[in-house]
């Protein structure tokens, strides 16, 4: 017994009497990544998918119902009133406003995806997914939602009709964010842990290969012509320009500390890259591979280090950019031509990512600490709504 004891003592009094290292699992928590057994999780999501909840009306259904009404009205104008009355009940159920879109929000901590209806601005369903969901995007045909579940080392596929997980894609370890080409055929996935970008054939749902990139790949975007993939590396502070046909890095552009997100202007003339620690957005000429300008931020009363740009959204006319400023709890509205901030909008706590509704009337932002989504009216440049979602909302995507 004595020998056994002193062994324990020796181990716990290592390094000149300095307190020993914590036992596994007894630390103060290593961030929020909490791996459970994947099997148990999968079983849970299977059960959730079996739970056949009726999905909310899709955008198409409402439109269809309205068209039907219109057609009937045109044919039999005399009975207009009668028909209105009889159809009133049915229509009231599918809600009236014309802009019914469906938004999906990944909740990093609660391992769920919240489904939001943009008519009622409410959460209509919460889908159980794998562990640590972050990057999220609709397939181009609007039929599926892909969500990177980093701690399960895969990308799950949600069927937009049944609103349940139906498949998964073969990413590398710890996928965080991904980008797809314009045709929606090829998916490029940034795997945070092994410094690679995985290339996936979306139709076959098969892995085509890997591209070696910088340390901790993070931001991903593809040029509108599909020829160039931009990947930012958190640790080396670079934006890598990758030729999608040769899958080789053709240029590296140094930006400010911890680049997080990259976004092309729709006319392909500029790439905007946000730097979370540097507190700036670098504007890169994608032909010359040079930084040609920077957007800087200043909010009276806020320390510089609280301004941490991450997500970027640009309107289709390339006139206005929206930049999420993390713990500054604000979205900066930027005039793209002058590269100057015209307004700051207080949204929610630790705002990171965003998505426009297809009609560009609204912008939805994910606010990680206040656990909600803010809705910005683009024309009025005002926050009009706040929607509570799961814990630590990360990304958001809206049906095309």
């Amino acid at each position: 017994m004595q020998a056994e004891m002193s062994d324990v003592m020796r181990r716990s009094r290592s390094r000149d009497g300095a307190p020993p290292l914590p036992l596994a699992g007894e630390g103060w928590g290593e961030g929020i990544s909490t791996k459970k057994t994947p099997l148990e999780e999968q079983a849970l999501s299977r059960i959730a998918s079996l739970d056949a909840m009726r999905p909310p009306p899709q955008a198409g259904e409402v439109k269809q119902a309205r068209q039907q009404l219109q057609r009937i009205e045109e044919r039999r104008p005399l009975h207009k009133l009668m028909l209105r009355l009889s159809l009133f009940g049915a229509l009231a159920l599918v809600a009236a406003p014309a802009h019914a879109f469906i938004a999906y929000v990944s909740n990093e901590k609660s391992n769920t995806v919240s489904v939001i209806d943009t008519d009622s601005w409410t959460v209509t369903k919460t889908i159980k997914v794998g562990q640590r969901p972050r990057g999220i995007d609709f397939t181009r045909d609007g039929k599926f939602v892909m969500v990177a579940v980093g701690d399960d080392d895969t990308i799950q596929v949600i069927d937009a009709k049944t609103q349940s997980v139906v498949d998964s894609l073969p990413s590398g370890p710890d996928p965080e964010l991904f980008a797809q080409d314009a045709a929606g055929k090829i998916l490029y996935v940034a795997n945070e842990n092994d410094n690679t970008v995985t290339v996936i054939d979306l139709e076959k749902r098969a892995r085509l290969g890997d591209i070696q990139v910088g340390v901790e790949p993070e931001g991903m975007t593809i040029s509108p012509d599909g020829k160039t993939l931009i990947n930012t590396s958190e640790t080396t502070n670079m934006a890598h320009f990758i030729d999608t046909s040769s899958r080789q890095i053709v240029a590296n552009v140094l930006v400010d500390a911890r680049p997080r997100f990259a976004e092309f202007k729709h006319d392909s003339s500029e790439v905007w890259v946000s730097s979370e620690i540097g507190g700036t957005v670098s504007i890169i000429d994608p032909k010359k591979h040079e930084v040609i300008g920077k957007v800087t931020f200043e909010i009276p009363g806020l320390r510089k280090e609280a301004i941490q740009p991450v997500g970027i959204g640009m309107t289709k006319d390339d006139k206005t950019a929206f930049i999420a400023l993390g713990p500054a709890n604000r979205i900066a509205v930027v005039d793209v031509a002058s590269r100057k901030v015209t307004k700051y909008l207080l949204v929610g706590q630790r705002v990171w990512h965003m998505a426009f509704t297809p009609d560009e009337k609204y912008l939805l932002t994910t606010n990680g600490v206040s656990n909600d989504v803010s809705v910005i009216d683009i024309v009025a440049q005002k926050v009009i709504k706040t929607i509570q979602v799961g814990e630590l909302p990360w990304g958001v995507t809206i049906a095309p």
Binding site: Q2, P19, P20, P22, W28, L302, A328, L346, G348
Partner: protein, 202 residues
């Protein structure tokens, strides 16, 4: 045997208390980064509050409301509802009342948050002392057990004491982990209430 196991565990645990992530705050025991104070601009985009500072305390109704809204036992939803009701009834004084109310919440919740953080650091220091003590007594017990003839009564007494100390240490350790969430919970409350107040002012 049980004593040894517990003691060894306690010593191992003490290592975590001493592992500070931010060198500026060696006593800070949480994984959550320590942000000593909430800056006003992070939670408020409304009109400047310079002209109402401290005046909220002079208004009995507002200070009572501030106390109610700041209490964690008041559910956030209920608190938000109270804000709306109060401001809806304010009519012409709405802007002034909104500013006074937020100034009060900002002062009160920031103070509450500082207190919690000071408490966490105090407990963290105490835990370090407790760990040192447990380590010392474990050695003492080891020595006592090695002596022949063994003083069984003394060994027994020290063993029991060690079990107690270890248990207290572990309980505190667990509590600290829960309390680490409190500063963030206060941030969330202040932000949520501030947002409702600003919306009501528009």
């Amino acid at each position: 045997m049980k004593v040894w196991l517990l003691a060894a565990m306690a010593i191992a645990l003490s290592g975590t208390a001493a592992r500070a992530a931010d060198p500026r705050y060696p006593d800070w025991p949480c994984t959550q980064a320590k942000v000593p104070e909430i800056s006003l601009a992070a939670v408020w985009a409304g009109p400047p509050l310079d002209d109402v500072q401290n005046k909220w305390k002079d208004d009995a109704r507002i200070s009572a409301l501030v106390a109610k809204l700041s209490a964690r036992k008041t559910p956030l939803e209920e608190a938000e509802k109270s804000v709306k009701e109060y401001l809806a009834a304010s009519a012409s004084d709405k802007t002034t009342n909104a500013k006074l109310l937020f100034a009060g919440l900002f002062d009160t919740l920031n103070a509450q948050r500082s207190q919690v953080m000071l408490g966490l650091e105090r407990v963290s220091r105490k835990q370090r002392e407790a760990a040192d003590k447990i380590r010392e007594e474990t050695l003492e017990l080891q020595a006592l057990q090695g002596v022949t003839p063994r003083d069984e009564a003394k060994v027994e007494a020290l063993s029991n004491e060690l079990i107690w100390k270890t248990r207290i240490f572990e309980d505190r350790h667990k509590v600290v982990r829960f309390v680490c969430e409190v500063p963030t919970a206060i941030d969330q409350r202040l932000f949520a209430l501030g947002r409702v107040i600003q919306q009501e002012m528009e």
